[in-house]
Symmetry: C2
Subunit: 298 residues, 2 copies
């Protein structure tokens, strides 16, 4: 079924009748098509479901193209990003083309679905902005962090599950919660991986997020545990290149207060709630997707 989605995306791209767009599209990494899988599992194999999957994946690609410009990221799935290969301008323009074609095709699916997905894209754009703004200073507010990751990551996944249920005439509410929960869990775990996975060169974590100013959930929890002097020290390290000592000091803090475990547990709880909802709906096939979200290498 994912093949049908790939073919639909290719068809949409060809309809643009623009050689350069076709050429750039081929340079994009294919990705896991998580959002398409989710829609197809919920909505079944209808033409509407395939179209919606294609649209959402195009919108997701557009958001990644703009994200990579905004985050100065030059690698995407171990391949050079479009902004690395062809410059920021090409990435912005290709993103706009994919976004607008996606929005256009939404009109040919279902009006309710069109509203849900386009609202999610607004949330996603606001979330990207919030992510950048929160990084300006040390953010110690869990509430702000949770709202931002909901907007940036979970809103589109939530919209996929919600829209899929609508296309299949299922009660959309449990699916909406399912999508939101796994979306938030996905981002929390992504943020943990920045801390727990070793970078190739040093055998140490990059802690790239913190160096970039992003105080993800573990930093917020660490901050809450520290005494005032150490709070000040942690803030002083925000958005700076870290020495080996400083990096080790933060890692020791995470260890002392069991913070990574606490964050993983929080993500697991969200996923368990999602799984239990799907159990009630009798939709066991969605459990694997949810589990794949959190069963990653820590």
């Amino acid at each position: 079924m994912l093949r049908a989605v790939e073919r639909k995306i290719e068809q949409f791209i060809l309809e643009l009748d623009d050689d350069n767009t076709v050429m750039l599209y081929k340079k994009l990494p294919v990705g896991k098509r998580l959002r398409a899988k989710l829609i197809l599992k919920i909505a079944g194999e209808s033409l509407s479901a395939i179209k919606l999957s294609a649209v959402v994946e195009m919108i997701h690609l557009a958001s990644l193209l703009h994200d990579d410009v905004i985050d100065d990221a030059y690698v995407r799935r171990n391949r050079p990003s479009i902004n690395a290969l062809y410059g920021n301008k090409s990435a912005i323009m290709l993103g706009d083309i994919l976004y607008s074609k996606g929005f256009y095709e939404l009109n040919n699916i279902d009006s309710k679905v069109s509203k849900i997905v386009s609202n999610a894209v607004t949330q996603l754009s606001l979330g990207e902005q919030a992510d950048v703004l929160l990084a300006n200073r040390f953010n110690s507010s869990k509430e702000h962090y949770m709202k931002m990751i909901y907007q940036k990551t979970a809103s589109l996944i939530e919209a996929c599950a919600y829209s899929g249920a609508i296309l299949a005439n299922k009660n959309p509410i449990p699916y909406q919660t399912y999508g939101r929960n796994i979306g938030i869990a996905f981002q929390i775990i992504d943020d943990i991986l920045d801390i727990t996975s070793s970078s190739d060169t040093l055998g140490k974590p990059s802690m790239h997020d913190f160096v970039e100013g992003k105080t993800t959930l573990p930093y917020i929890y660490l901050y809450e545990k520290l005494n005032n002097d150490d709070k000040t020290k942690l803030i002083s390290l925000h958005k700076k290149e870290l020495s080996s000592d400083e990096l080790n000091w933060i890692l020791a803090g995470f260890k002392e207060y069991n913070i990574i475990e606490k964050c993983i547990k929080e993500a697991q709880t969200l996923v368990e709630e999602a799984l239990s909802l799907m159990n009630k709906e009798g939709n066991i096939s969605l459990q694997k997707i949810a589990k794949d979200m959190i069963d990653r290498e820590f």
Copy 2:
């Protein structure tokens, strides 16, 4: 009536519930709201017409935000652009927010109009890309130039006129042609003004387009007139800072072959066709908008 459109845009922005977006929106220049005027003149003063006007103006603003990043433009209507004030990233993100909110609101107007406008945004994005790509080398093809300015500038104006007619239950075809014609004329004249208007500091035209690599209609016509040696010379000047001699040589060519007049005439012919269509429709109020398009200072 334009007041009602401004209020509607403000309402849409406030609905985003995001302080930073409100703050940035206030920094945007208001502009002439040409597209809103066009819709209101055609569709009348219905709520749908006001909503559509607000959406189209938001989409237009989004496209300008991204254009200014793509063109490295730091001034917009004599005010610093958002990318000049807050950096490229802010401009990209605000553009994405305005685009997606605009697309979301399209769902609350009319499904046919939603398709027309979202298709125009795809054309606009493809046109922006074509504009950049055509500037890579000396483009001597009038066909490529005309297609590009149709996509970049005329498609959204055409969509405004077309959609306005649909909202008002008028035959949309003459309005569509009207919109397309004045859109193309508008861009041809904008490109002429880059040649005919003196820059403040030197009292000479900037010919900024040509220096940036953009061979607009006058350069294409000049190229057609020149002998082979002079063709080569013109191409050699493409995308370079021009000396005073070089600049004067090009201007002399324009004068010798009456090229500026020829281009103005071409824009006028398009506008006259548009006017005559509106005459037949009995819609005289649209004549002023069309005339304002071309009655600019040369």
